[in-house]
């Protein structure tokens, strides 16, 4: 087979790959739009206050791991304590911070040493002490040695948690006050089968904060953050919503998810060595449930919101995306035996293969595809007209999916009330393709390269703190 034949096959394969990828996005968009509509109609006959007053509403423990988070820990914990839920316990884990994280907590919440029975159901790094706030007894702080991962810290929190449901929240994130009530709607409708529920994570950068609460939702100025706003909308409102509809949700964001504690404990908690501990946990829950042939559901609820600080610079964003890619490999590779096995149902037949082909291998396939197209053009094998049309199609289709995510945001929350914000959001849907997409591709390849070299060291994100992030944006 000569070079021309190879290039022809390669270009055709790339064409069909791209086509199938777009088709799956389109299906997810349609499913997500229908699903959101149904959810909102369902909410029309429900009042959240009824959940608050019901004696059957189960207690929840919020678990917030913190490692060197002195800049954001106080407003974050304050926001957790402001969450409107009848029986709430907040467990913050100081995971061997070397900055003033623990001191800030002590000053702000008047922590007193507490003699609690700590049963280490899941092994973690050594716990130095347990503290309870004198100003708000719902707050418990676990002070422990650094375990080298967020998972280790969360496991210590799970050992302390006393509620049947736990909600893991990043300490650089803020829950909206009704977030738990909203996420519990779907759990309480089928508590026997729903073992985990994920809410939506949104970008805090640019919003205005006051006393640990969001005062005004605004779009940030930095283009790199706006691109992330669109990405988050697309990932949660289209991706997760669509996959959850078919009970094929494979990830619940580590920044905000509610789990049945007994189920998490039964799979041994979070895997301390996992790079993407949130994805890893959900994969293990799927595996356990399917192995045991248990009926279960992992759901996504589109209206409870958790606001999070996203990387404000290309450098820290690059680190984060490389880590996400490493996390993806770290989960997909050990679970490769789940692929196409009858026992693992649609997870093994659809969800995991999709992740392999369109997420994990996407950077490599894209690079190979681009290289083949360029080579074909150089050899004069490519019709210039078709090439340009194909590029236009790719550009417009991706923009359409992003605008679809903005429409979903309009249907579900409509948090960006300002017309200018919405106009900018739509404009950025058209700017995302160049050079942000290529940068993203590069970071993902970097992540794969690092993983192949065995470089799995955690590189921390530069944080400016919730209040600084939120108030850093000047009013237009």
């Amino acid at each position: 087979m000569n070079m021309r034949a190879v290039l022809n096959i390669s270009n055709n394969t790339f064409f069909f790959y791209y086509l199938f990828s777009n088709l799956s996005y389109l299906i997810l968009l349609i499913v997500a739009l229908l699903s959101s509509r149904a959810h909102h109609q369902h909410l029309a006959s429900l009042r959240l206050e009824r959940i608050k007053i019901s004696p059957l509403t189960p207690p929840i423990t919020l678990v917030a791991p913190a490692h060197n988070e002195e800049a954001s820990i106080v407003p974050a914990v304050r926001s957790l304590l402001h969450v409107d839920y009848p029986e709430l316990e907040v467990v913050v884990i100081n995971d061997g911070s070397t900055d003033r994280t623990f001191a800030r907590l002590q000053e702000e919440f008047d922590l007193q040493a507490a003699r609690l029975l700590y049963i280490p159901h899941i092994a973690t790094a050594v716990v130095r002490g347990l503290y309870r706030s004198a100003t708000d007894p719902r707050l418990i702080v676990v002070d422990k040695d650094a375990g080298g991962s967020k998972a280790d810290a969360v496991n210590a929190g799970l050992n302390v948690a006393s509620s049947p449901y736990t909600c893991v929240v990043d300490s650089d994130s803020m829950l909206e006050s009704d977030a738990l009530l909203r996420i519990m709607v779907k759990i309480l409708e089928d508590p026997k089968h729903v073992v985990a529920a994920g809410g939506i994570v949104r970008v805090l950068n640019g919003c205005q904060l006051m006393n640990g609460r969001i005062r005004a939702v605004r779009l940030p100025r930095s283009p790199i953050v706006i691109f992330q706003v669109i990405e988050y909308l697309r990932a949660f409102l289209i991706g997760r919503e669509g996959w959850a509809r078919g009970n094929m949700l494979t990830i619940i964001s580590g920044a905000f998810g509610v789990f049945r504690r007994d189920v998490v404990m039964s799979v041994g908690g979070y895997r301390a060595s996992a790079i993407g501990e949130d994805f890893d946990l959900v994969a293990r829950i799927h595996r356990r449930m399917l192995d045991e042939k248990r009926e279960y559901r992992i759901v996504f609820v589109p209206d409870p919101v958790c606001w999070t600080e996203v990387p404000p610079t290309a450098k820290s964003l690059g680190r984060q995306r490389a880590r996400w890619q490493k996390g993806l490999i770290d989960v997909l590779w050990p679970n490769r035996d789940m692929l196409f096995r009858r026992r693992y149902g649609r997870i093994g037949a659809i969800a995991l293969p999709y992740l392999w082909v369109f997420e994990l291998c996407a950077p490599i396939l894209e690079i190979l595809g681009i290289a083949a197209i360029i080579l074909a053009a150089v050899l004069g094998m490519l019709s210039r007209g078709l090439f340009i049309e194909f590029m236009i199609y790719g550009y417009l289709f991706a923009a359409m999916i992003s605008v679809g995510a903005v429409l979903q945001e309009e249907i579900t929350y409509r948090r960006y009330n300002n017309w200018r914000d919405v106009a900018r959001l739509m404009l950025y849907c058209f700017l995302e393709q160049f050079p942000y997409r290529q940068m993203h591709l590069f970071w993902r390849l970097q992540g794969m390269w690092q993983y192949a070299r065995g470089d799995v060291v955690w590189r921390s994100m530069d944080r400016v703190g919730l209040e600084a992030t939120a108030s850093s944006r000047p009013e237009p």
């Binding site: 034949a5 022809n8 055709n12 064409f15 086509l19 109609q41 369902h42 029309a44 006959s45 429900l46 009042r47 009824r50 019901s54 004696p55 059957l56 509403t57 507490a114 003699r115 609690l116 029975l117 700590y118 049963i119 280490p120 159901h121 092994a123 973690t124 790094a125 050594v126 716990v127 130095r128 002490g129 347990l130 309870r132 007894p137 309480l188 409708e189 089928d190 508590p191 089968h193 019709s383 007209g385 078709l386 049309e389 194909f390 236009i392 199609y393 417009l396 289709f397 923009a399 359409m400 605008v403 679809g404 903005v406 429409l407 309009e410 249907i411 409509r414 017309w419 919405v422 739509m426």
Partner: protein
């Protein structure tokens, strides 16, 4: 030669396939561009249209709400003729919303007056018609709204909706019936539940039954005796929330029921009975085989704050289940002399019981005070005993810390209950 011919044929086939793909792809890509452009235009138009329509809609609602709020007394008193607002949809909606909101916080007498107003103004009839005739989510919302009126005539329409094929409508009807809080609504649901005609996953049905049977838990009894299997479990959980002394001797009968949920509900209800009446049953339930029955029994026992309950509570603090131990400790920490309780606990030589007591006393803020009291005990006779207790408490407190400080490998050998 043949090989060469075969190779040429293969090449020719490949080439024609490639041409076919190229030609099809070109046509497809043009169509896909048109599709994407149309999609973008439609999506952008939807966003803009939605924004404009919503703005207009909410402006109109706000305007109507403001008008109604300003003229509420005149509207209720009939000084503003009903024809003026009844045919204006937004105004009538605003009046219904405000009347229902006010009913929720009004006294019984005022709520009854508001209900009369809704009846006289024909608004209740309108709500009844909407609950019967609307479709989809509008009907679901109308059913819940109808329930909020707490009108007896609403029950029939709501009960009819329980038979709907759509589970969302059934759920809305159940929620509506819950809002009435009427015993008639409770009985209608109970009949369907026991007959197997109403089975909804989740807590809505239970919440609704709780809301409607709380006023008279006795209506649950015949259905509870009649029901079997999971339905009986469901009713038992409802009973656990609403059971009261009004159940009288039936409580004692149910205390030895085969279903643990029922026994737990009895344990909970007995907290509101006379101590003399409740004690024997609670003492028996405190030794039940199910941990949550024991937990409920000990919680109820603790609420009496009676000296006779102490031996039962002390047994409870040595329970094999840590939740039960903690609940017993919670009750024991509130007795007038916790130091004497600590002495009794120490005599039992149960490290977990002592830890439960220390943890609870620490939570209530009494632990340090007790330590100080023991340190300052001056009497010669009490000194030795105080020191012994002090030593045990400090060792117990340290024991609580030891477990979490153990290295991960060693922890696997620690026996935990």
């Amino acid at each position: 030669m043949d090989k060469c011919a075969g190779g040429n044929a293969k090449h020719s086939k490949m080439s024609s396939l490639h041409h076919w793909i190229n030609a099809s792809a070109a046509a497809f890509v043009v169509r896909a561009i048109i599709f994407s452009l149309t999609g973008i235009a439609l999506l952008v138009a939807s966003i803009l249209a939605r924004r404009i329509i919503r703005r207009h809609h909410f402006d109109r609602l706000a305007e109507a709400g403001f008008y109604v709020r300003q003229h509420w007394d005149e509207i209720i008193g009939g000084e503003i003729p009903r024809n003026e607002w009844r045919e204006v949809h937004a105004d009538a909606d605003a009046i219904i919303t405000q009347a229902l909101d006010r009913m929720e916080t009004a006294s019984e007498e005022k709520a009854a007056r508001l209900l009369d107003f809704l009846r006289d103004a024909g608004l209740l009839d309108r709500m009844l018609a909407e609950a019967r005739e609307a479709r989809g989510w509008r009907r679901d919302a109308a059913l819940v709204q109808l329930g909020r009126t707490r009108a007896l005539e609403a029950v029939t329409s709501l009960v009819d909706a329980l038979g709907d094929r759509n589970s969302e409508t059934q759920l809305a009807a159940v929620r509506g019936l819950a809002r009435t809080g009427l015993a008639q609504a409770g009985e209608a649901m109970l009949e369907r539940v026991v007959a197997g005609d109403l089975a909804l996953a989740g807590t809505s049905l239970q919440n609704s039954l709780i809301a409607c049977t709380r006023v008279n838990p006795r209506i649950l009894l015949p259905y509870l005796y009649l029901a079997q299997g999971p339905v009986r479990e469901l009713l038992a959980r409802v009973m656990a929330e609403v059971a009261s002394v009004a159940l009288g001797d039936d409580l004692l009968l149910l205390a030895s029921d085969a279903l643990p949920e029922v026994r737990a509900s009895v344990a909970r209800a007995l907290a509101h009975a006379e101590f003399g009446f409740a004690f024997p049953a609670l003492a028996q339930l405190a030794t039940d085989e199910e941990w949550y029955v024991r937990l409920r029994a000990l919680t109820s026992m603790g609420q009496f704050k009676q000296a006779r309950a102490l031996p039962v509570l002390l047994r409870g603090v040595c329970d094999e289940n840590r939740h039960v131990r903690q609940r017993a400790a919670e009750a024991l920490a509130h007795v007038p002399d916790p130091t004497s309780v600590l002495r009794d606990v120490l005599k039992m030589e149960d490290a977990y019981a002592l830890q439960a007591m220390i943890a609870e006393l620490d939570r209530t803020g009494d632990f340090e005070r007790i330590l100080k009291t023991l340190e300052s005990t001056a009497s010669l006779t009490g000194r030795a005993e105080a020191e012994q207790l002090l030593e045990a408490l400090e060792a117990g407190a340290e024991g609580l810390n030891t477990m979490m400080r153990l290295p991960a490998a060693a922890r696997k050998t620690v026996q935990t209950v």
